[in-house]
């Protein structure tokens, strides 16, 4: 996830300051990790450095003075380019779970026990996310975000089930190599 582009997208709706951007980010992407203030300000400074955003002025609104930012034309072009860019369809060819299964085989561990434990952890997380998707109080953005995570966890689980069924063959292959 590109924090830089997400912030640029939030800025595209109109001039805004760091505190407001952080608040809107956390609301709009409830399943994502909340942004740290430091990360927001560092990212804004880099956007200004790269000519994608500019300082509009300051706004005190009765409280401490805050710097307002807006998107430049170059920023708007970069945002359009990024938003239309297709995400790589196979970024997880070598993943941590597969690596641990192979290491368990190499080191004489119990890959089947590891896969069962991993499956239980995935199921626990899926139960939590399902509670979110089936809560009548959840808004659609929250539901869709949790649904995205659920589908990915489900894909992991299918892969783990197939792998568990093929451990004997995999062990022979790893041992022979």
């Amino acid at each position: 996830m590109s924090t830089r582009h997400i912030l640029l997208g939030l800025l595209a709706t109109g001039p805004s300051h760091g505190y407001d951007l952080k608040r809107r980010h956390d609301e709009r992407f409830p399943q994502a990790r909340p942004l740290a203030y430091g990360q927001v300000y560092t990212t804004l400074q880099r956007l200004v450095r790269d000519g994608l955003a500019e300082v509009e002025g300051t706004d005190s609104d009765g409280g401490p003075e805050r710097t307002l930012y807006h998107v430049t034309e170059a920023g708007a072009r970069e945002l359009s380019r990024w938003a239309a860019e297709i995400a790589p369809p196979a970024p997880f060819v070598t993943n941590e779970i597969f690596a641990k299964v192979v290491v368990a085989i190499l080191s004489g561990g119990d890959p089947a026990a590891y896969l069962r434990a991993q499956r239980a952890a995935h199921m626990r997380r899926m139960r939590e996310l399902t509670a979110v998707t089936s809560d009548p109080g959840s808004d659609l953005a929250t539901v869709l975000s949790a649904d995205f995570a659920l589908n990915h966890l489900d894909a992991d689980l299918r892969w783990m089930t197939t792998t568990a069924a093929r451990l004997t063959t995999l062990t022979a292959e790893v041992d022979a190599a």
Binding site: M123, M126, L129, T130, S134, D154, T161
Partner: protein, 235 residues
Amino acid sequence: MKNTGTPGPLLSANDLVKTHGATPALRGASLSLGPGEILAVTGASGSGKSTLLHCMAGIVRPDEGSVTYDGRRLDRLPEKRLSELRRTGFGVVFQFGQLVPELTALDNVALPLLLAGTSRPRAHEQARDWLERFGAHDLAALRPGQMSGGQAQRTALARALITGPKVVFADEPTGALDSLAAEQVMTALARTAREAGTAVLLVTHDARTAAYADREVSLLDGVVVAEDPALEVAP
């Protein structure tokens, strides 16, 4: 076995063995279901999960082992008592809702009450209420052939719950549905069962469906594998 924190299991299977012809379906399966608990039983095709559900619902008798319901040996009950229990204490839903094709949704849902001698107006009133709980009140006049798979399954769930059973047995209730319909059916089932305090034994091969349960156990070659490996008894 995991302690569910309940006073005792409502329904338990102990060392069940069941063979279909020469094929062993269950090879010493044990499982407990607490009152009001939603328990998912998962496993690959042929792992024995449907046979386990059939034994626990009193639909088939195990070759060995016991099934205890509310402190009584279910597997030793005479057929007449068993069929009465299936009508009043249990609700069953299968992959295909198995609604009566000639009847409307309202009559399908009212059927268990009508068979038990409830008056038609009273049965229909309750059936409307249960269809409403499953968001299916606008289906009342439709026959199964006029419904989508998800609508038929929500109707079947309303029929399974109308008698106020203590346990609902659901065998692949989302197996024939697309993902959105499956989500609507499972959300309705989990919410309604929790409101009514009904326990659910949910057999599914689908992890997304299993995630609606409070707990999951997996079946492997006719034996129950505990949900949390840390709680497994070493072989």
